[in-house]
Amino acid sequence: MIVFLVRRIAAGLVLVLVIATTTFALMGLTGSDPVRQIVGQTATRQQVAAKSAELGLDQSFVARYGHWLSDAVHGNLGSSWFSGESVTGSLANKLPVTLSIVLAALLLAAVLSTVLGVAAAVRRGALDQLVQLLAVLGFAVPSFLVALVFAVVIGVDLGWLPATGYVPLADSAGGWLKSITLPALSLSVGAIAATAQQVRGSMVDVLRADYVRTLRSRGISERSLLFRHALRNAAPAALTVLALQFIGLVGGAVVVEKVFGLNGIGSQATTAGSQGDTPVVMGVVVVMVALVVVVNILMDLAYGWLNPKVRVG
């Protein structure tokens, strides 16, 4: 168990490192000239050189990367080239926004896909068809389009929930919940569809399994059969899909944050990306990949807990 955990964490760290290095190299190749953008078109050659030296851009690539890496290991991700704001500080401010909608979307996807998938597998018929249709729709309609429709219809026309803005959890729990409902819901549609499809498929398979028939032959209740035995056996496959979907959720947050005017890491990524603000881009990439790594390790642990063959064998 401990060995497994250590190995997974090590693999995660390697992933973060590889992605960070690649990103740094890519940003170093940048075709546009960030210094010129920062100081403006009218700046003198001396001003440009001074700014370059200030940002450390006059050093070699290896030196710059080594510098960034040693700072990063100590928790310092540098400061934005454009605003001068500390990257660690601004990420810390924005992370709660993104985490709120991404984790809420993950939770929604887990719960709703289980309910829909189990219902479709057990009841079949019209409900089953509905879930299948939903799966195709969830695939076809990008999350930002869902977000746009939700924002206009539910947020603006009906006025049921706020269409823009974020209320911190510390300020008001109700306000927080209201402010993240639409973003999380629109973000999760695709993941719900894909995972529900998997839950349904696995449940159908498990319910056909010999051991379910044998359990039934012992007269245990239908509820225990479905939710204790069948769902438990169908869960690992669904969890694998959910883990993959989570990666998509993190990416989708970038677009959904724009629609709902949320000042999270995603919108920061968009701005920094288009400016070529290397320290901010690096910070965003590291945090997002780390988030994926952490959630995947948690899912692996849940997988091990669900599947005794992995756990014991």
Partner: protein
């Protein structure tokens, strides 16, 4: 915004030729609709200059947010560009970008998957590691970085997205190749000295073709989604009309003119849905081929079942001490060619404390009969039964909950295949304790003690260890003992054992039969022992009912049946089982044609 998941490779088992797949695809209305839509959409993009005279990039302040008119059939956008022209020209960007992404994904993924799957070794290790790495990164983040590094160009972004999707292709191809490379015919080709490239081209490519086409259709949809997402964020070639940039513009004017969202939104959703549904239809067409291959044998069995042999029953059913009386049981399944009868009017009786052998070959309907008594037939099954009387009470027509009062408590079941009949996710103990607590109302400690006692009774040397084990940690013979313990745990009156020894080693078979016999005597249970083995019948049965193609052909006390079998089918079964039997061929003419057919029926093929 998700990378495509690697497809299950189950489809690769039965892959039809490309021509066959296309023909089947054209028979599906969904597929045809999708294809027609996609052709129309492509044509609209291709002939955009003919369909509109407007320049999609021409801005005009006077036409800003212009209403629909002759000049602008769909109106103007925020900066006065013609919406229809942008929609049509945007089709080009979307489709070309998606095609580029898919092409890149295939060019990287297919060869890498082939090489990794076929040669394995270091290349497999390295490329699998890279694939996992790529799949763990949110695509849109990578694209943001790339766009900020190399500039705002939609096609470059889509090429990079192709790289990001290539792990999906790689994993699919690799898994397919690994599954076929172990096949005998591939092995044979290798042994006969065929060069690797030739083997790959002749034997492996045809297998991976179909799943790759399915995945390509879904990736085209994904490519369009991710591309429009980027453009919506304001990234991508600024001078190029695209659906995503139209949505960006619509978003900027969302309060003044929300209708601007509709056109690109609908175009996007319809195109992506068409690709997705096309992928699904392709998969269904593939699956359909597998179903089709099985049909002829099922049909043969149906004919055989209709041609029932006359039944030669020695005694009347419904004797006074009868524990179970079954009369006129019919079981059928709906199939593509109508109802398929697997049990056609079976009657049988089990007395208290009596062991009834239910004998017949695979496909004779004996297991189906057993499941019908337990109410455990699959949902699709249609059951009609004259009478199903257990201990004086009519069970036919009882609901699931009512049946659960009998199942496990008074009628119990021992399955055929021990390993697949234990829930792999739960410890043996908890599986056994659950029904005991439910039916007998015992406390957890009492149930545990009782279960440990049972495990000891069925001959398990170390009950505590087995109690705490998971099914994969014990042997098949031990698992069967566990299942027998589970069946008798609530002291049932009737035990139905479905070929309980077939899956076991010969040495263990005798022990398990002894165990069933001794438990039966000890508790005076009625037993229905489903078997095809007259050796087993001779060992422990009191009476025998012989079934052939869904009907009872003969029913008699065991001595009488062995001494003077009346039905030719019984004689044939006896002669093929008993050691002193004549050679089978000598009996050939006595066997009805239908027997020969049913003997060819594969066991796993039936719904049992």
């Amino acid at each position: 915004m998700t990378l495509p998941q690697p497809e299950a490779t189950a489809h690769t088992a039965a892959v039809p030729g490309r021509a066959g797949l296309l023909r089947r695809l054209l028979r599906s209305p969904v597929a045809v609709t999708c294809l027609v839509l996609l052709v129309l959409i492509s044509l609209a993009g291709l002939f955009a200059p003919l369909l509109t005279g407007q320049d999609p990039a021409h801005t005009s302040l006077t036409d800003s947010l212009a209403p629909m008119s002759g000049k602008h059939p769909l109106g103007g956008d925020g900066v006065g560009r013609d919406v229809l022209a942008r929609l049509l020209y945007g089709t080009r960007t979307s489709l070309l970008g998606a095609l580029l992404a898919v092409a890149v994904a295939l060019v990287i993924g297919v060869p890498a998957g082939l090489v990794a799957g076929y040669y394995r070794k270091w290349f497999d290790a390295v490329s699998s590691w890279l694939a996992n790495l790529l799949m763990a990164v949110p695509a849109i983040i990578v694209l943001l970085v790339v766009m900020s590094a190399v500039g705002q160009n939609t096609y470059i972004a889509m090429a990079v997205f192709g790289v990001l999707m290539s792990p999906g292709v790689f994993r699919l191809i690799r898994a397919s190749v690994i599954s076929v490379r172990e096949e005998l015919y591939v092995d044979a080709a290798r042994v006969s000295g065929l060069a690797d490239p030739r083997i790959i081209r002749r034997h492996i490519l045809p297998v991976v073709q179909a799943p790759t086409v399915i995945q390509a259709a879904q990736m085209l949809g994904l490519g369009i989604v991710i591309q429009s997402g980027l453009e919506f964020l304001g990234l991508g070639s600024a001078d190029q009309a695209s659906w995503g940039s139209m949505l960006n513009d619509a978003f900027a004017n969302i309060y003044t003119r929300p209708v601007l969202m509709v056109w690109p939104g609908v175009a996007l959703a319809v195109t992506v849905a068409a690709f997705g549904l096309l992928g699904n239809a392709l998969r269904d067409a593939l699956d359909g081929s597998a179903v089709k291959a099985r049909r002829p044998r099922g049909a043969a069995r149906k004919r055989a079942a209709e041609k029932k042999a006359p039944s030669a029953t020695h005694e009347t059913s419904g004797a006074d001490d009868a524990l179970l009386v079954l009369e006129g049981l019919k079981v059928s399944y709906p199939t593509a060619e109508g109802e398929k009868t697997v049990v056609g009017g079976v009657s049988l009786t089990v007395r208290r404390g009596e062991v009834l052998g239910l004998v017949g070959e695979s496909g004779s309907g004996k297991s189906q009969t057993a499941f019908a008594v337990l109410g455990l037939l699959p949902r699709e099954a249609r059951v009609s039964s004259g009478r199903l009387v257990f201990d004086g009470k009519e069970l036919a027509g009882l609901g699931r909950a009512e049946m659960n009062r009998y199942r496990g408590r008074r009628i119990a079941y021992v399955p055929q295949e021990p390993m697949s009949n234990l829930d792999p996710s739960f410890r043996i103990g908890s599986q056994l304790v659950e029904p005991v607590r439910r039916h007998l109302g015992l406390s957890a400690a009492e149930a545990r003690a009782k279960t440990l006692g049972l495990l000891e009774r069925v001959g398990i040397a170390d009950p505590e260890r087995v109690f705490d084990s998971y099914p994969h940690q014990i042997s098949g013979g031990m698992a069967q003992r566990v299942l027998i313990a589970g069946a008798v745990s609530c002291e049932p009156d009737l035990l139905i054992a479905d070929e309980p020894t077939t899956a076991l080693d010969v040495t263990v078979q005798a022990e398990v039969l002894d165990l069933i016999r001794s438990l039966q005597r000890e508790r005076n249970m009625g037993v229905i022992l489903v078997t095809h083995d007259f050796g087993v019948v001779a060992d422990i049965c009191d009476r025998v009912t012989v079934m052939q193609t869904g009907a009872v052909v003969e029913s008699a006390p065991v001595r009488q049946l062995f001494a003077e079998p009346r039905h030719p089918y019984t004689r044939m079964l006896l002669s093929s089982t008993l050691e002193d039997a004549e050679p089978r061929s000598a009996l050939g003419p006595a066997v009805p044609a239908s027997v020969a057919t049913s003997m060819n029926t594969a066991r796993q093929e039936g719904p049992a």
